[in-house]
């Protein structure tokens, strides 16, 4: 405590004044937007006053602020902060033992579906396996996208707000090739990656000279252009109706079907179970995400990876040392885009249906948020952020019990995005350098030391 301890009445006075001010601001913010609701009626819009709601909101802010002021921010009755750090296992994982920790994580991820499946079948636990696997697949898709974007943003320091464009290119490549030429997933996967990489280069060329936020806005515009073209180029992309009946991947040519020729189940002498296909999808995306991760880790040790990191730290210094920044930028875009394309292709095969709606700006924002919230350059950070953001987001789906408290009109799904935004802001404020704010140096002179997040100048381009 640097400031002198004030008397109780003075502190109470100050806290009351502050809380009143906060309540006043809240009232000003919400008096029209929350205090009234516009209702459609026969003669046009009318207003319905909701004074109770407004009063509750103002009251919550007043009381909350008062308590915070008294007990949390300043005062000698300070509630002792919990000794445990909320992210206690993480530092142990990231520092010197990071490889072991990562290994454990990978093994756990690899064993999870098989074990869960076997346990469920033998013991008849009735686990919501289907839901769990679907959720894991979704999280892993975002992990992979995060890894891919991490190459562009975290390593090369190029702020890309249109990453979803490459995701879309990958998805539509596969969907169109499958619909028109009957190509399978495994054939299209490399093609989707290649095409997305090509688009990465196409985007990369015009933005070579741009820096920082100019780059951000042009990539954002690029993402929107791709989405608008997909939406309006109806005779190729089927416009807003999207493309459906995208085939599922096969296991070395063995389809996952109940009947018809040689299937996965009949070949291995198993009883057909729809979960087989989902478990297989899980392994496909796990493999893809691991591939991306390993690729990134290896790349960082190659000359091109070092060139990226040098470029991120200082472009001019980098250029004056003789590094070709044109090549470095284009390869960064192309590599990041390639993984986006893979992920897109996987997304298409998993959903079986794609439409331009899935590729809006909000997806780019979510992926970027995962990369930044995870602590840029940190692979495990990306995994954690994806689990927190996507997993938490999906958990909010099953909140029907809240209707018991707030009445039947209460629709919890409406609040999901609101909570998502609040979580995004909250995590960033809580840990401004990301969940994992340190990372391993790519190059070491004598000993390995963790690099603090604040030393990494990502996004400065």
């Amino acid at each position: 405590m640097s400031e002198p301890v004030k008397s109780l009445s003075l502190r109470l006075q100050a806290a009351l004044a502050d809380a009143l001010l906060a309540a006043y601001v809240t009232f000003a913010l919400f008096c029209l937007t929350l205090g009234f609701r516009t209702v459609d009626s026969a003669g046009g819009l009318t207003l319905k006053a909701r004074p109770m709601l407004l009063a509750i909101a103002v009251g919550i802010v007043f009381v909350g602020r008062l308590l915070l002021n008294l007990f949390w921010w300043n005062g000698n009755w300070k509630v002792p902060r919990p000794a445990w750090r909320p992210v206690w296992p993480i530092p142990a994982v990231t520092r010197y033992g990071s490889e072991n920790g990562a290994m454990l994580l990978v093994i756990a991820a690899a064993l999870f579906p098989i074990l869960a499946f076997a346990l469920d079948k033998t013991l008849h636990l009735g686990l919501p396996l289907r839901y769990l696997l679907d959720l894991s697949i979704l999280v892993l898709t975002y992990v992979m996208l995060g890894f891919g974007l991490n190459i562009v943003v975290g390593l090369a320091g190029l702020l890309d707000l249109g990453y979803v464009a490459f995701y879309a290119v990958g998805a539509y490549t596969f969907a169109l090739l499958a619909a028109h030429f009957g190509f399978g997933f495994w054939m299209c996967l490399p093609l989707a990656g290649l095409l997305a990489a090509l688009w990465g280069v196409i985007l990369g060329f015009p933005v070579l000279r741009l820096r920082g936020d100019y780059l951000a806005i042009v990539t954002l515009a690029f993402g929107e252009i791709v989405r608008i073209v997909l939406l309006n180029w109806t005779h190729v992309t089927n416009g807003p109706n999207g493309i459906s009946n995208i085939p599922k991947p096969t296991f070395f040519g063995l389809p996952f079907k109940a009947t018809g020729g040689e299937t996965f189940a009949s070949f291995f002498g198993l009883r057909y179970d729809p979960l087989h296909s989902i478990i297989f999808l899980y392994y496909v995306i796990l493999g893809l995400a691991l591939l991306t991760s390993l690729f990134t880790l290896r790349l960082r040790r190659l000359p091109i990876g070092r060139a990226w990191e040098a470029m991120r730290e200082d472009e001019i210094a980098c250029r004056s040392l003789g590094i070709n920044t044109t090549v470095a930028k284009l390869t960064a875009f192309a590599t990041g885009a390639m993984f986006g394309g893979f992920a897109g292709s996987f997304f298409a095969t998993r959903q079986g249906f794609i439409s331009p709606e899935s590729f809006s700006f909000i997806e780019s924002a979510i992926i970027l948020a995962i990369v930044v919230l995870g602590g840029m350059g940190s692979q495990i950070g990306v995994v954690l952020a994806a689990i927190v953001m996507i997993g938490g987001f999906e958990l909010l789906r099953n909140m029907e019990w809240l209707q018991l408290i707030f009445g039947q009109d209460f629709d919890p799904s409406l609040y999901r995005m609101l909570l998502f935004g609040i979580a995004m802001v909250g995590i960033m404020l809580w840990r401004p350098h990301g969940i994992i704010a340190s990372r391993e140096p790519s190059i070491v002179l004598k000993e390995r030391r963790a690099v603090g997040g604040r030393l990494v100048k990502e996004g400065r381009a």
Binding site: L32, T33, R37, L45, L47, L231, I316, A317, I362
Partner: protein
């Protein structure tokens, strides 16, 4: 020719609205060097506040439209300015010394929060408002095609020009404007010379939000329909306009807004309406390739 003139008029009206929003982006960028992603949604909140204030005033029995509009304008500017201040205070100020992607993420988060707050509080349906300002002038008639200049278009352009004038005076003549320009050049040095940097930055957000509220009101009057999603598209366009004109430059923002408005209108009129956004965004990319700092922007000196 008549068709062309009509589109020119429409484009200028639309461009003025974009310009008003773009000023908020460009000022914030000039001072703290961040994209205030939530600004488009501040504009949307402003439009909603204007709508509710208008309905409220009407239901209270004040039927004199010009007076009601002035009241609505004042209320909307004040309350939206409060929103701008709050967003800065909650989401940006704690991260001011952080690395530059951090406030960008909170800004995107704030944008999501504002959009969904309005969606939850006011419903997702579009909100129509009957035309408030009607009538106009017919400039000339060419072979049955009349060029119309409606009153609302005149109001938009006059308001924009007047506000630009006031704003220009504030920036160039007052102590606040001087403080803002000082912060823009060197925040640390400005703080050392006695400028209250935090307050100046807050004032910038407040001014930007107030202008966005005006844009929101004009948008509401011009189109007569708003929803919780208008902020996103308008925000991107306005940011495009700010970058186009050279970010950090006020006349640039206005010029950029006009150019984007005109491109969009002419593209819809002569080519295809579906691809009007593609046209505006492609134009942005093309301009930036040839003028990497925008039309009126200062080139930054690059140092190691």
């Amino acid at each position: 020719m008549a068709y062309f003139l009509q589109q020119l008029v429409n484009g200028i009206a639309l461009g003025s609205i974009y310009g008003l929003i773009a000023i908020g982006y460009t000022m914030v960028y000039g001072i703290i060097g961040m994209i205030n992603f939530a600004h488009g949604d501040i504009f949307m909140v402003g439009a909603f506040i204007a709508l509710i204030a208008f309905l409220l005033i009407m239901s209270l029995g004040l039927t004199l439209v010009p007076l009601a509009l002035v009241l609505v304008l004042i209320i909307a500017m004040l309350l939206t300015a409060m929103w701008g201040w709050t967003v800065e205070r909650i989401a940006y100020r704690p991260l001011r010394e952080s690395f530059r992607l951090a406030p960008l993420i909170t800004a995107i988060g704030m944008s999501i929060i504002l959009q969904n707050f309005i969606q939850v509080a006011q419903g997702a349906r579009v909100k129509p408002l009957q035309p408030v300002i009607t009538g106009g002038y017919q400039i000339f008639d060419e072979g049955g095609f009349a060029v119309n200049l409606s009153n609302i278009q005149i109001l938009i352009v006059v308001t924009t020009v007047a506000l630009m004038g006031v704003f220009w005076l504030v920036i160039t003549r007052t102590a606040l404007g001087r403080a803002q320009r000082a912060c823009e050049q060197d925040r640390l040095m400005a703080a050392l010379s006695g400028v209250n940097v935090d307050r100046t930055i807050s004032a910038t957000f407040v001014m930007g939000a107030a202008l966005a509220a005006v844009a929101g009101l004009l948008y509401l009057l011009y189109y007569g329909v708003i929803d919780f999603f208008i902020g996103f598209v308008a925000g991107i366009k306005a940011f495009t306009a700010a970058v186009f004109g050279g970010i950090g430059s006020l006349p640039g923002a206005m010029l950029g807004g006009l150019v984007i408005g005109l491109i969009e209108t002419f593209w819809s009129a002569y080519f295809s309406i579906e691809y009007k956004d593609v046209a505006a965004f492609s134009m942005l990319a093309i301009v930036l390739i040839f003028f990497p700092t925008g039309l009126l922007g200062r080139p930054e000196t690059e140092k190691v």
